[in-house]
C-alpha cells in the first residue's frame, strides 16, 4: 500500500512523487489534500494533491523540515505508512468568467490542479507563477497548458519578469478587463500581499491556507485560523478561504510555532543520515 512508483527531482530541494492510493485517487478533487506519515515514528503532514489519476496520487514537496527531507531520501519502490484523504473541501469550480491563478514557489503545485479545473470549466484563465529564481520555478509547462495566458516572475530576474507576482497582478487589473476571481497559493506573505492588491477593487480573492495540521478531520484544532473574526479549522472549513477576511499575521505567527523543534529534529536526522552513509 502507498508505494512510491515514481520519483523525480524538480530541483535540488523540490521533489515529485507518485504514490499508489486507488480509492483516494478516485475521489480526489482539485483543492483537496492528503496527510501522509512516512513510518511508525513519523509525524502527519499535509500535502496537496497535485494530480490524481489511474490510482496514483501526484505529490510535490519542498525539503524544508525533517519529514520532507526524509521523504526526499525515499525512492521508487519504498512505501509510506499512511496516506489519508482526500481531505478538505474541494475548491469551488464553476464558470466565473476571467480567473487569475497565482502560484508562488511550491504553491504552484497547489495552484496547478485548480487552474486546470478552472480552464476546463470554461473560464478564461490567466496564471501568474513566480519563484525566487529560475531553477525553483516548477510546473511551467503544465501551467502553460492549463492557462490562456501565463506570466512568470522571478525575484532575481533570472527568468520571466524580474519582480513579484503582485506586480503582474496589478498590470492585469490595470488592463481594465473585469476579473471575476483571483485564486492565490504560496507563501503567506505573498497571499497577504495579493489580498491587499485586490481589496480596493473588491475582486473576489481566495487563498488556500497551509496551516500546521495533525488529524486533518476537525478534531484537534491545530490548523485554526481566524477568518472574518471567527475561528475556523483549515482542515475541514477550508483550505480555501476569502483572502479579504483572513488574519494573515496570526497565521504567520502560528506557522512559526515549531521552528525550534523542527530545527532540532532535522539536525538529529541529518546526523543519523551521516552516520549511515
Amino acid at each position: 500500500m502507498f508505494e512510491i512508483v515514481e520519483k523525480k527531482d524538480l530541483h535540488e530541494t523540490i521533489c515529485l512523487i507518485k504514490v499508489t492510493a486507488g480509492l483516494i485517487a478516485s475521489k480526489a478533487l482539485p483543492g483537496q489534500f492528503v496527510l501522509i506519515r512516512i513510518d511508525e515514528k513519523g509525524e502527519r503532514i499535509p500535502l496537496t494533491i497535485v494530480d490524481a489519476r489511474d490510482g496514483l496520487l501526484t505529490l510535490i514537496f519542498q525539503k524544508v523540515g525533517k519529514t520532507t527531507v526524509h521523504l526526499g531520501t525515499l525512492s521508487k519502490g519504498d512505501s509510506l505508512a499512511d496516506v489519508v484523504g482526500p481531505l478538505g473541501k474541494p475548491s469551488e469550480i464553476k464558470k466565473y468568467g476571467t480567473v487569475v491563478c497565482i502560484g508562488g514557489g511550491i504553491g504552484i503545485a497547489e495552484e496547478y490542479p485548480v487552474a486546470r479545473a478552472f480552464k476546463e470549466a470554461g473560464n478564461y484563465c490567466i496564471s501568474i507563477i513566480g519563484a525566487r529564481t529560475k531553477s525553483l520555478l516548477i510546473l511551467e509547462d503544465e501551467m502553460r497548458a492549463a492557462s490562456d495566458e501565463l506570466l512568470i516572475t522571478t525575484d532575481d530576474g533570472s527568468y520571466g519578469v524580474k519582480g513579484l507576482v503582485i506586480d503582474e497582478l496589478r498590470k492585469i487589473i490595470d488592463r481594465g478587463k473585469p476579473i471575476s476571481l483571483v485564486m492565490a497559493v504560496g507563501p503567506v506573505v505573498m497571499m497577504k500581499a495579493v489580498a491587499e492588491v485586490t481589496r480596493p477593487y473588491g475582486i473576489k480573492t481566495l487563498v488556500s491556507l497551509n496551516s500546521i495540521m495533525v488529524d486533518g478531520t476537525g478534531m484537534c484544532g491545530a490548523c485554526r485560523v481566524s477568518v472574518g473574526g471567527k475561528t475556523k479549522f483549515a482542515c475541514v472549513d477550508g483550505p480555501d478561504f476569502d483572502a479579504h477576511e483572513v488574519d494573515f499575521d496570526l497565521m504567520i505567527g502560528r506557522l512559526k510555532m515549531y521552528l525550534a523543534d523542527e530545527k532540532r529534529s532535522l539536525e538529529e536526522f541529518t546526523k543519523k543520515q551521516a552516520v549511515h552513509s
Binding site: 480509492l23 483516494i24 475521489k27 506519515r37 515514528k41 513519523g42 509525524e43 502527519r44 525533517k66 519529514t67 505508512a81 499512511d82 496516506v83 489519508v84 484523504g85 482526500p86 481531505l87 495533525v214 488529524d215 486533518g216 478531520t217 476537525g218 478534531m219 484537534c220 484544532g221 491545530a222 485554526r224 481566524s226 475561528t231 475541514v236 496570526l250 505567527g253 502560528r254 512559526k256 510555532m257 515549531y258 523543534d261 523542527e262 532540532r264 529534529s265 538529529e268
Partner: protein, 487 residues
C-alpha cells in the same frame, strides 16, 4: 440466598491497590495504578455479600453480571471470571481502568452503605489483566454467518463495543477509523499512564479474533459517504464518531502560539508520542508553566501529561472543587503528583508577547450564585478582581462538540442545535434508514461506559433491523420526521 449459610462478617475496608510512587510517576508515562495481586483480588472479592437483588448490575450501563464474575474470583477461577465479564463487555481491561465506577456500579453497592463499596472496577481490571497475562484468551463460539454486512464508523468505545456485539451475533462487521491507529479517544485522549496502549491493543486483537475487519486511515465523509456504504452492499451503518470538535473559550488571544485545545495537546502526546520527541517526529511545545482550563477528566489528563513533560502544571476552574466533573481518583492522583489547583477562577484574556506567544492569562475571581440548568451553582465573576497569571502554555479543556464531518456530508441525517445526531436513546435509530448512531456523537461529550451502553442497545436494534424485525419510528413514512425530531 441460602439461609443455612453462616452469616459472614462484613469487611468494611476495601483492599488498597498499589500505585507508582507519586514522585517517580510524575516523571514517567508508565501506568500509575498497578492492579491487585491474586491474593488482594480474592480478599477484596470475598467482601462481596452476593445480595439477593444485586443493584450493581442495574448501575452498569452494559449490564455485566457483577456478582457472577466476583464469585468466580472468590473461587480463584480467574479465567472463568474474565470470560464471565466478556459475556457482556468486550473491553473489561479498559472499563476496569477508566469507568467512573463510583457513579455507577459501586455507587449502589449495598456494602457501600456500611463501609467502602466493593472495588468492582479494580476486580474487573484484575480479571481482564489476568486473562491477558496468562495469554489464554478464549473466543466464544460464533453463530453461523448471517450474510449481513455492517459498517461501523469510528473505533472508539462505542464502535469497538458494537463491532464485537454484532460479530458475536454472526454479522460481518467492518470498522472504519480516520486515524492511523484504532481506539478513538482511548488512543488519542487517554494517556499511557492511565490506559497503557498494550491493553488497548489486546482488546482490539480480541475483536479481530471475532472476525471484525478494520480499515484505518479511512475518513468517512470524504473517502466514502454513508450513502455510498449503503450502496456498496452494507446492510446497516453505525456512526460512533464521538465528540471530536474542540471548544475554545472565546476569549481574546486564544489563537496565540502556546494555546492548545486539549484534543490537540493529548493527540500530540498520546497518539503521536510527542513525549518521545525527537525520537518520534511530532513535537509539543510546553513552557515552564502550563495552565489547563477546566476540571474534567480530560483536563486532569492534560495537566498530568504537562507535568510529566517537565512543566509546573496548574488547573484553572471557574467553579469549586465540588463541581469538578473529573473522577475523584483522578483529581487525587493529579494532586499527589504535584498539579496545583485554582478554583473559582476563569480566564478573560490570553496575553501575548510581541512575537505572538502566550505570556500570561488574565484571570477573574468567581463566586457561586444560584444553581443553573445543570443543577450546579452558577459561577459569577467578581467585578474588579482580575489578576495576571504568568504561563507559557495554555491547554483549553472546556469540553468538545460532536465531530461534524459525517453529519455535514450525509443527506437526511438530522442533527440538533448542538450538532449532535438525533437518535432514539433506546435503539440508536437516526432519521436515515439503515443508519444508527451512539456515543458522544449523539449525547455530546460523556463517558466511555455510556458510549458503550448506547452501542450495546444499538447492536440489538441493528440485529433486529437486519432480520427485518425493526420498526423504524423516525424514518417510518407515517411519522413526519419533524415531529419525531422534536421529541
Amino acid at each position: 440466598m441460602n439461609s443455612d449459610k453462616p452469616k459472614k462478617k462484613l469487611i468494611l475496608e476495601r483492599q488498597k491497590m498499589s500505585r507508582q510512587d507519586p514522585l517517580l510517576r510524575s516523571k514517567n508515562f508508565k501506568e500509575v495504578a498497578l492492579g491487585y495481586t491474586d491474593e488482594e483480588a480474592v480478599v477484596e472479592a470475598v467482601r462481596c455479600i452476593d445480595c439477593k437483588k444485586p443493584l450493581c448490575i442495574d448501575g452498569c450501563p452494559v449490564e455485566i453480571d457483577i456478582p457472577g464474575f466476583i464469585r468466580l474470583i472468590q473461587q480463584r477461577d480467574f479465567l472463568g471470571s474474565a470470560r464471565k465479564l466478556k459475556e457482556k463487555n468486550s473491553l473489561p481491561a479498559i472499563c476496569g481502568r477508566v469507568c467512573p465506577q463510583e457513579d455507577q456500579c459501586e455507587k449502589v453497592c449495598l456494602v457501600g452503605r456500611k463501609g467502602d463499596p466493593i472495588a468492582i472496577g479494580r476486580l474487573e481490571r484484575f480479571a481482564a489483566d489476568y486473562e491477558r497475562r496468562i495469554g489464554n484468551v478464549e473466543v466464544p463460539k460464533l453463530p453461523a454467518p448471517s450474510g449481513k454486512r455492517v459498517a461501523v464508523v469510528g473505533s472508539g468505545p462505542a464502535g469497538l463495543t458494537i463491532a464485537s456485539d454484532l460479530a458475536k451475533m454472526g454479522h460481518d462487521v467492518t470498522i472504519f477509523e480516520a486515524l492511523h491507529s484504532i481506539g478513538g479517544v482511548l488512543r488519542y485522549g487517554i494517556p499511557e499512564f492511565r490506559l497503557p496502549k498494550a491493553v488497548l491493543e489486546a482488546e482490539v486483537d480480541y475483536l479481530r479474533k471475532l472476525g471484525v475487519k478494520i480499515e484505518k486511515s479511512f475518513v468517512v465523509g470524504r473517502l466514502r459517504l454513508l450513502d455510498e456504504f449503503l450502496m456498496d452492499g452494507f446492510d446497516a451503518v453505525f456512526v460512533g464518531t464521538g465528540a471530536g470538535l474542540p471548544y475554545f473559550m472565546g476569549v481574546p488571544g486564544e489563537n496565540l502560539n502556546g494555546v492548545y485545545s486539549a484534543n490537540e495537546f493529548l493527540t500530540r502526546v498520546n497518539l503521536m508520542k510527542a513525549y518521545l520527541f525527537p525520537d518520534y517526529d511530532t513535537p509539543v511545545v510546553v513552557g515552564k508553566k502550563v495552565a489547563v482550563i477546566g476540571a474534567g477528566n480530560t483536563a486532569m489528563d492534560a495537566a498530568r501529561c504537562a507535568l510529566r513533560l517537565g512543566a509546573e502544571s496548574h488547573i484553572i476552574y471557574r467553579r469549586s472543587r465540588e463541581e469538578a466533573p473529573a473522577r475523584k481518583e483522578e483529581v487525587e492522583n493529579a494532586q499527589e503528583e504535584g498539579v496545583q489547583f485554582h478554583f473559582l477562577a476563569a480566564p478573560v484574556d490570553v496575553l501575548g508577547t510581541p512575537d505572538g506567544w502566550v505570556r500570561a492569562l488574565r484571570l477573574i475571581r468567581m463566586e457561586l450564585g444560584e444553581p443553573d440548568d445543570s443543577g450546579r451553582r452558577r459561577p459569577v465573576p467578581v467585578k474588579g478582581s482580575e489578576t495576571e497569571f504568568d504561563v507559557q502554555t495554555v491547554v483549553v479543556a472546556v469540553g468538545q462538540g460532536p465531530n461534524p464531518l459525517v453529519p455535514s456530508t450525509t443527506e437526511k441525517l438530522e442533527v440538533n442545535k448542538k450538532g449532535c445526531i438525533v437518535a432514539d436513546p433506546a435503539t440508536g435509530e437516526t432519521t436515515k434508514k439503515g443508519v444508527f448512531a451512539g456515543g458522544d456523537i449523539v449525547t455530546g461529550g460523556a463517558t466511555v461506559i455510556l458510549a458503550m451502553g448506547a452501542a450495546r442497545k444499538a447492536a440489538r436494534a441493528i440485529d433486529k433491523y437486519l432480520e427485518g424485525e425493526f420498526e423504524g419510528k423516525y424514518w417510518s413514512p407515517t411519522a413526519s420526521s419533524s415531529s419525531a425530531l422534536e421529541q
